[in-house]
Structure formats: structure tokens, C-alpha cells
Point group: C2
Chain length 234, copies 2
Amino acid sequence: MYNLRGFRLLNVPRRPDMKIGIVGGTGEIGEGLARRLSHKYKVILGSRDRDRAEETSSCTIDLLKGRGCNNCYCSGGTNQDAVDGGEVIVLSIPFKHLKSTIGSLSGFEDKIIISPINPIARNDYFTYQPPPEGSAALALKTMLPESARVVVAFNNVAANKWKHLDEELDYSVAVCGDDNEAKRLVMGIVENISHLKAYDAGPLSMSPIIEGITPLVLNIARLNGMKDVGIEFK
Amino acid sequence: MYNLRGFRLLNVPRRPDMKIGIVGGTGEIGEGLARRLSHKYKVILGSRDRDRAEETSSCTIDLLKGRGCNNCYCSGGTNQDAVDGGEVIVLSIPFKHLKSTIGSLSGFEDKIIISPINPIARNDYFTYQPPPEGSAALALKTMLPESARVVVAFNNVAANKWKHLDEELDYSVAVCGDDNEAKRLVMGIVENISHLKAYDAGPLSMSPIIEGITPLVLNIARLNGMKDVGIEFK
């Protein structure tokens, strides 16, 4: 299979039965991801607050039904439910909560963990503030069992855009990780969301650059009078 | 003046009499820059080899005349001539020659110095290898007199594309630096080249991210079967 850009694409067919757990599923990006994935995959939306997760998942289903999609799947539960139920887990949480959240959860063995996390500080400008490991994703890797496969994706898509289904996401997504099978599977998920295009960006050691692009585009938005700036590789 | 993106653009009108010195002007990017600037500015093309610089500048003028441009200016000389003659100096040299080149030149006081330099290593992948100062541009700043104003620009435009005038450069250029006047002047130069669009990316401390994007797009090109990948902010 070749895509429009002429290169051999992802040998991984979309599996509608694939279960995707979203840790932090009631946040801006988590909820948006649920809305954009629940008609293509089985989504388990997790939160520290189970009631809120159940409410958000009901809303997601109602919203998608209202748009003519009767065959969607989104269940709400705890963050631990999202980990237990998902084959692929998206960590939709701020960097400052990463360590405590991972410390409070278990069962990551053999799972694919997607990190869209960007460690950013804001003073006069947005700056990239990676931990000593080099990036949020590299730090995450040290917190997880060895069989968990960390893949970086979605970092540079503006948070505001996820929830509004009428907004096309016409951006490039740099995907990096050390396990090629996991990376390809995540690239397949990316390409099933709106107009996002996934690009293999190499090993997990590329994550500092990918995470660092987010404060760059936030500064560019602010300094050039733009909104929700993302990137395209071309 | 407002540009298409609706924000107030560069109070700096183009000055056709502005002199731009290119250190390393016989390299791929330097020669391409000369070709793309000599009909809009006065270009002083420098090289360690004066004869080669003179030859390259003659070729540049002939090439532009052949394309119907009779009013271009490109003179060849030494790298020191480029520094002495330019108000704005582009350092079109590899990172490994930065320190020795700057050490061999003088007269940078009060000049605007454009750094398109990316410290990159290639092993299995391209990796970003900044010096202890944090980036090539931050290291450069320590090598120059305090009155020299360093501005980062052009880092992420594929080297191959500069020389071929039939190739439109339809990319975004992140421009950063600590002196706003210098930054705006450089943004004006950027927007006078092909379809390049200049974006204010904040202070010089953003340079590690901008330089780091280059190994990222080199990896993306290699891993996804693409050529000459650049970026667009959108």
C-alpha cells in the first residue's frame, strides 16, 4: 500500500476492535481524542474521577450519534481501567503529573504507551524544560517496565483543536520510538484521525526535538498574531 | 503594513542598497543565497579562496542576466571582504569550521550576523549535537564582540534547494534573536527570497529548537522516502 506521498505505508491494517485507553481522558486533548477515535476504535476513557469519565464518555457517544455515527464505542472508568482495558494507552496528562500518575498505576507490561507530553514552562516566552533524562518520553521510559513500548506522537497538534470535530486537523505528526512494530501501529492510529499525516521520525532519542517544537510554535503563535499553530513537513 | 496572515509586518522597507556579506559564499547554501539575493541587495560573496569567490560571483551575475535581470550586484572576495563590506553577514559555513573561521576574521562590531548553522552528527540517524553553550548560535554569540547582533534564520531550508532558481522555496523560516531591530531586518530579507515566510520565533535562546529541527527533517526525509523536507507553520 502506498500513500499519496509515494512511500510504502504501514503494513498495519486498522483494527476496529483495537482497544485504546486514554489516561487523563477528561482533559482537553483526552476528550478530543476520544471524540475522534471512538467511531474507529474501542476507547476506554480514564480519569482520576470515575463519574466524570462516565459522563464524558456518554457525552462523546451522544455527540457522535448526533453526527450520524451509531457504531461508536467509548466507555468511562478510572485511569487504571484505561490501562487495564487498552492495548494502546495514550497518556493525556500534563508533564507535572506524569511521575505521580504513573506511580499510581500498574499493568503497563507489553502495552504500547503513546506520549504526547511536552514539558514546557512559560515566563516571558514559552521554553522547553526537559527533565534530566532528556525529554518527557525518555523520563517516562525509565518509569515503566521494560516490556512497555513508548511511542511519541501528537505533541505538536494544538490542544484547542482536538475537541471541535468541525475543525480539520491538517497537520503533520512526527512519531518516534524504539520499537518499529509499535511505531507503525501508532502511525496507523494517527492517520485515522482527521487529516493528520504520520511521519516516522526515528528512535525515541528524537523526542527532545519533537517535544521542543511545541514551545516554539506557541511562541510563534503569540509573536506573530496567529492561533493554534501546528506544523507540516513538506 | 499587514501581510496575508493579518499581522503587522516588519516596519523595515527593503533597502536595495543594503549590503549583505556571505562568509562561505562558494558553498551550496552560500552560492544559492547569492543567486537569490543579488537582484534585490548588494551581495559581497566571500570565500577562503578569493579566485573562487570572484568566479562564483561572475557566474551568479551571468546566470541572473541570462534570466533577464540586468541590475544585479554580486562581488567576490575573501571572507574578510564579506565581513568588511556587509552590514548584514550570513555565515554559510559548517559548524565544524565556525570557531576557526570566526577566529580568523575581525570587524564584526555593530553588524548583524545571520546564523543558518546546524551542529549535526550522522550515525544510524541524524542527531543534534549542540556545543556546551546550547546551540551553534549561542556559541557564536560568545565568539563575537558584544555589539554584534546574532540572528538565527534559514536553518531548516534544504541545502539542495537553494541553488536551483526554478525551485520555489515554499517554506516557513523561524527567525530568533535578542535584538528586535536586527530580527525584523532579517525577517525582511527572508521574505524577499522566493516564497519563504518569516516568523518571529522569540529570543536567541530558542535557537536549540530551531537548529534541532534540521536533523529531525533529515531523518523524516530518509525514513519516509521523501526529498528535501522542510517545514511550514500553519
